[in-house]
Amino acid sequence: MAQLGFYINNDYCTGCKACVVACKDKNDNEVGVNFRRVYEHSEGDYVERDHAVIQNIQTFFTSISCNHCENPKCVEGCPTGAMYKREEDGVVLVDHDKCVGCKYCVWNCPYGAPQYNEVLGKMTKCDFCIDLISAGENPACVGSCPMRAIEYGPIEELRAKYGNVSDIKGLPNSSITKPNLVITAHRNAK
């Protein structure tokens, strides 16, 4: 099976966070543990001109989870080998039998994907809903998006369909870990 990846239509995303809630619900995560997060990026200001106050505020939202990177720094740095990249589809997973809960992967991931679970004392993260995928369903975030702004599939297919953009405003440089992510950028995110 080919490397899996996500496609995010940044232009469609309204920041409703349905994907965050669906993911949280599916994984039964504690408060503060979010495998998928939506980041708001705002810039600009209000300026006074003559007797009017004019704004040039620009805002867009980016939904991000683990990007199951080509060169995952979390895997490279993990001292136990608990963080690993599955051969068949390139999904990055945590083996809880090995994880020591050192949180080093948090400092190594550009996308904030590793989420520490205080109750378990282990690192947790997006597993691409591999159980749902193997049952022929969509990952929770993909299925829940009311704007159909999130898709998944073999990354080469997504790139052939939507292009190669994975660098937009507010995201770390993709050269660090080579994320398996394709984005259609919002006009203010380019």
Binding site: P79, T80, K103, W107, C109, Y111, L120, K122
Partner: protein, 281 residues
């Protein structure tokens, strides 16, 4: 800042490593004493070094969410600096405890174990630095990380050893005691110089933000200017204490000047390390 475990771990280990290096440096001069006297003078520093490394080890365990899996942490030596550091730290602790234990059994200090401890320890500090240097946290991927860690070892190590050696040595060989205080003073100055090089480079490097929710280090530290200033003032006072002791020891300056210097410098280095971990908070 919620990395108190790592703060205690790094400070204890670096003080223990600096102390081991100092004991090795002082060993030749101490070998002028007869072996029994030498053991008598060196036993407390050896025990304190072993104790500090064990306190560091215990602190590092409190950082882990699942310490029962601790043995797994040396399974990824091929690419993980943390794995390498844990192995090398374990080796240092084994050697430090071995040196102390063997000294008590044989009633003499094994210089080869001291030398092995010093070499392993210095490499261990490099590994500790590499752990942070290789992360994406703004401010940690700077040469300042290495200089800060080595600087701590060369500031705390000498003062620690002098505070432990001199009270026993003063009665037996005052000249030697004074020479040690002087050496410790110069080496501690060297430690501060190493830290200053890192700080100077840090100041002229444009910080990068490579994490999606990361904060530029300059913004992260904006509220800590007073802490940094107080830290340096305290550090200078500590060094002044030991410097004064080194030139005025024969004027019956009480030895608690050295203890004062040690306490002040531990506090200063603790503040420095606190600010270091604020970057990653």
């Amino acid at each position: 800042m919620h990395e108190w475990s790592l703060l205690i771990f790094t400070l204890c280990m670096q003080a223990a490593i600096g102390g081991t290096v100092m004991l090795l440096i002082f060993y030749k001069k101490l070998s002028k004493l007869d072996p029994e006297q030498q053991f008598h003078v060196m036993k407390l520093p050896l025990v304190v070094i072993a104790g500090l490394s064990l306190i560091g080890l215990a602190a590092s365990f409190t950082h882990l969410g699942s310490p029962e899996n601790a043995l797994n942490t040396i399974r990824h030596l091929g690419s993980s600096w943390m794995s390498r550091e844990i192995l090398v730290t374990g080796m240092f602790i084994a050697v430090a405890c071995g040196a102390a234990g063997l000294a008590f059994i044989q009633k003499k200090v094994n210089v080869w174990l001291l030398a092995a401890g010093a070499v392993i320890g210095l490499f261990d500090i490099y590994c500790m630095g590499a752990i942070y240097y290789n992360t994406l946290v703004s401010g940690w991927n700077s040469i300042n990380t290495y200089t800060s860690f080595y600087g701590t070892a060369f500031v705390l190590g000498p003062i620690l050893i002098v505070s432990l050696l001199v009270p026993f040595l003063k009665a037996k060989n005052e000249e030697l005691a004074q020479a040690f205080v002087k050496n410790a003073f110069y080496i501690a100055l060297g430690g501060i110089a190493i830290q200053l090089i890192g700080v100077a480079i840090f100041g002229i490097t444009a910080p990068e933000v490579n994490q999606i929710a990361g904060v530029n280090v300059m913004d992260a530290l904006e509220g800590y200017q007073t802490t940094v200033a107080i830290r340096w003032m305290i550090e200078i006072i500590g060094i002044f204490f030991i410097g004064y002791l080194s030139i005025a020891m024969n004027k019956k300056i009480p030895i608690y000047f050295a203890y004062g210097a040690l306490a002040v410098l531990i506090f200063a280095e603790g503040m420095s390390r606190y600010v270091f971990y604020v970057m990653g908070a």
